[in-house]
Structure formats: structure tokens, C-alpha cells
Amino acid sequence: MIEIKNVSKWYGSFQVLTDCSTVIHKGEVVVVCGPSGSGKSTLIKTVNALEPIQKGDVVVNGTSISAPGTDLPKLRSQVGMVFQHFELFPHLSVTENLTIAQIKVLKRSPEEAKTRGLKMLDRVGLIAQKDKFPGQLSGGQQQRVAIARALSMDPIVMLFDEPTSALDPEMVGEVLDVMVRLAEVGMTMMVVTHEMGFAKRVSHRVIFMDHGKIVEDCKKEEFFGDPDARSPRAKDFLSKILNH
């Protein structure tokens, strides 16, 4: 579904990604973790070309993001993305947030878009908030609306960029619940997160990054079950976050 092939990226002379390669299969849930500044958010944003790359290639569902003729908006419309800071459109109501891209990008009729959008809003348990504005919702609710917005586009894969990092602790659960349910119905997901509980419960694979490199890329069972086989850097990271 997603092939990341030898991706390297520089900000000026500073290399943020070094030769990253991995494959995400259909129906797979892959968690990307690692210390801050390790390049995980940058890596996930290369998948839908929000961050341009200088070397390598990413192929999404057979379409290369760096091929000259690629219709990037079309590719992005098939890839759902959830941001750390939600990024709902604050000048639009919840319903409009859910329908605008369906209408303008997928050219669905307003009625069809509304039906689809409200169905997704119901799925994240927020149908009662449909006429409110993002500013009137809590952080957790906003993030659930953001997930519904991405789902309304019928994506073939969902990218999550630290979806719970900006939330108050008591709101993390409601967002993770939505993500767990999504994983259970077979959505292909790439998730940058520090939530190791989520990784243990629903992920299939864990990618560990450090200094812009993919250091570990293994099955969840290996990653959490066999700490002795891990690289020193991953061991250090795991000991820090699992002891609390």
C-alpha cells in the first residue's frame, strides 16, 4: 500500500531523514515512535508529500509522489491525515469541516457529502455537535472531528501525526478509543505516537526512529517482548517510557 524507498531529506545542510525504507501493507497498523527530533513526523508527512524529499521515493497505492506527472491533490485526497494540533478549519462549522473537501475535491453533491460526513461524525460519537464551531469543542472532541473529516474522504490509508500529544490527559482516551475501533475494522494506519499502550494493543509493527534513521522495524511482539534483541538506543527509549 505504501512503499517508502530510501528517503532522504535535508533542511539546508541539516539532514533530517537518512535513507529511510519501509513498506506498509493493506490493513496493517504501524506505529512510528522515537525521541523528539528523530524525524518521525517528517517521515509521515513525506507519505502525502506535505514535506518534499530530496532523495528516494514514496509510492502510495502504485502512485509515486515524486514522478513528474503525479496529481498530488488527488493522491492526498485518498490519504487521510490527522494532525497533532487538529487543524480543523476554525471559520467553518463542524458539518462544513466534514463536507468542504468532499464537495470541492471529490465533487460530491452537498447532500451526499453531508450524509457521508454526518455518518462519520456519528461514528466518532459527536453527532450532537454538528452545528458547533471547532472553537466551541474540547481538544479531544476537535481531534475526533478531525478523524471524521479524514474518514469522510473514504481514504485508503490513515496517517496520524502525534494525534494525542496536544491533548489534556483525560482526553487522550476518547481519541485512542476511536483509533482502536478504526484499527479493528481493518483500516490501514500509520501512527506517530508515544502511546505505547496503543502500540501494544492494536499495532502490528513498530518502527523506531532516531536521528532521522529507521533503527528498528519489527513485529510488535518482538519489539515489546524481546527487549534484549533491541538496539541500545531503542532499549534506552523503551526503558524511559515504559517504566512510568
Partner: protein, 222 residues
């Protein structure tokens, strides 16, 4: 009081001399505002495009007009146009075009600040749901930029309204010219200029007050 005599001023006189000038001043302000904001937004987008061939001309345009006194632009435009198109276009039309072009430079700086006030994440969110540059700009960035900058845009419009009095330089018949004509006809220039000042003051002060109220309301919404 001070030997001032306002007895000559009545509705008859106002309607005959001032009304058409007042309407023109309002017309000039509104057209220059709408046209200036539209052109200014285009200029702002050009300057923020990151493409040199758009950025450079827009920057030159804005910096040039912001460095020349408005009254000179009004006169030059009025004098040059007949040479360029072969016939005069009249003081009123000339003023409308000049003000639109001139104010665009100021509105563009406001819109530039407004566009930059929209977080980068919003642009990413627009792209992420499949919008192209035009859609993201039109549907995501500009509505927020306008809302953030609405009080400043309106304040600039109040300044624009005051500046419309500069069309005296080319003899266009505006609000001030109307009062001036009354003053000359009745030989009461001191009184009429005084009344003109009060009219400008009342209009601008009321608008400023309304903008302040609007600003407070927008702050609450956010």
C-alpha cells in the same frame, strides 16, 4: 459667537451643493475599498508566492506607491491618462481608478499580515484533504486572513475616506468641494469649512467607534 453666521445653511442649500459631492465621496470610498482589497489581496499573494517573477513586480508596485504622496499620484494619473489613451476621462473616474490602485498598496500590506497570521498547519490541512493551492487559498487561508484583519481593513477604509478629500487637486466634485462651493457662493468660507470638518469628524468618529466594537466582538468569538 465670533461673528459666525450659519443662517444661510439649510436643507435646500445642502441638497443643491453638498449632496452630490457626499454621494461621490462615499462612492469613491466604497469602490476604492472593494477594488483596493481585491487588488491588494492579489498583490499580497504574489509577494508570498515564493516565485521571484511574481514577488518582484508586486514588491516594486507596493513600495513605490507607498513612497509617493497620494496627492501627487492623483495629479499625475489625471495628467498622464489623456496622453496614454488619447482623451481625458474626467476627474471623477480618474479619482476612482487612482484611489483603487493606490489603496491596493496599503491593503496588500494588511492582507499580507493577515495571510501570514494563518498558521502553516491550516495550509497543510487544506492540502492533506486534497485541495490544490487555489482551493486552499480561497477556502481556508483567505477567509481566516480577512476575519483576522477585518478591523484593520476597516480602519484603513476610514483613512481612505478622509483621503478622498484630496481629489480637490484635480477638481473632482466631492463632499469637501460641495462645502467649498457653498462657502464661495454665500461668501462664508470659515463657517462652511467648519461645518465640513464637523461632518468628516462625525462620520469618521462613528465608524472608528463601530470598528472598536467589532474588534471586541471578534475577540470574543475566537
Amino acid at each position: 459667537m465670533f461673528g459666525l453666521d450659519f443662517s444661510f445653511l439649510n436643507w435646500e442649500v445642502i441638497r443643491a451643493y453638498v449632496a452630490s459631492g457626499f454621494i461621490f465621496s462615499i462612492q469613491l470610498t466604497l469602490v476604492a475599498m472593494v477594488g483596493g482589497i481585491a487588488l491588494g489581496t492579489v498583490l499580497a499573494l504574489m509577494r508570498l508566492s515564493g516565485k521571484k517573477f511574481l514577488e518582484v513586480p508586486a514588491t516594486i508596485y507596493v513600495d513605490t506607491l507607498r513612497s509617493i504622496p497620494l496627492v501627487m499620484v492623483i495629479m499625475w494619473f489625471f495628467l498622464i491618462i489623456p496622453f496614454l489613451i488619447g482623451r481625458p476621462i474626467g476627474a471623477e473616474l480618474s479619482a476612482i481608478v487612482t484611489f483603487t490602485l493606490f489603496e491596493a498598496a496599503y491593503y496588500s500590506e494588511i492582507m499580507r499580515a493577515g495571510i501570514q497570521s494563518v498558521p502553516k498547519g491550516q495550509v497543510h490541512a487544506g492540502y492533506a484533504v486534497g485541495m490544490n493551492y487555489g482551493q486552499t487559498t480561497r477556502l481556508v487561508v483567505l477567509p481566516q486572513a480577512f476575519r483576522n484583519m477585518l478591523p484593520v481593513l476597516l480602519t484603513q477604509t476610514i483613512i481612505l475616506f478622509q483621503d478622498t478629500s484630496l481629489v480637490y487637486a484635480i477638481g473632482a466634485y466631492d463632499l469637501l468641494k460641495g462645502f467649498e462651493t457653498v462657502g464661495r457662493n454665500f461668501n462664508r468660507p470659515v463657517e462652511t469649512y467648519l461645518v465640513a470638518a464637523v461632518v468628516y469628524f462625525v462620520i469618521c468618529f462613528t465608524l472608528s467607534y463601530m470598528v472598536r466594537r467589532l474588534q471586541q466582538r471578534i475577540q470574543i468569538i475566537r
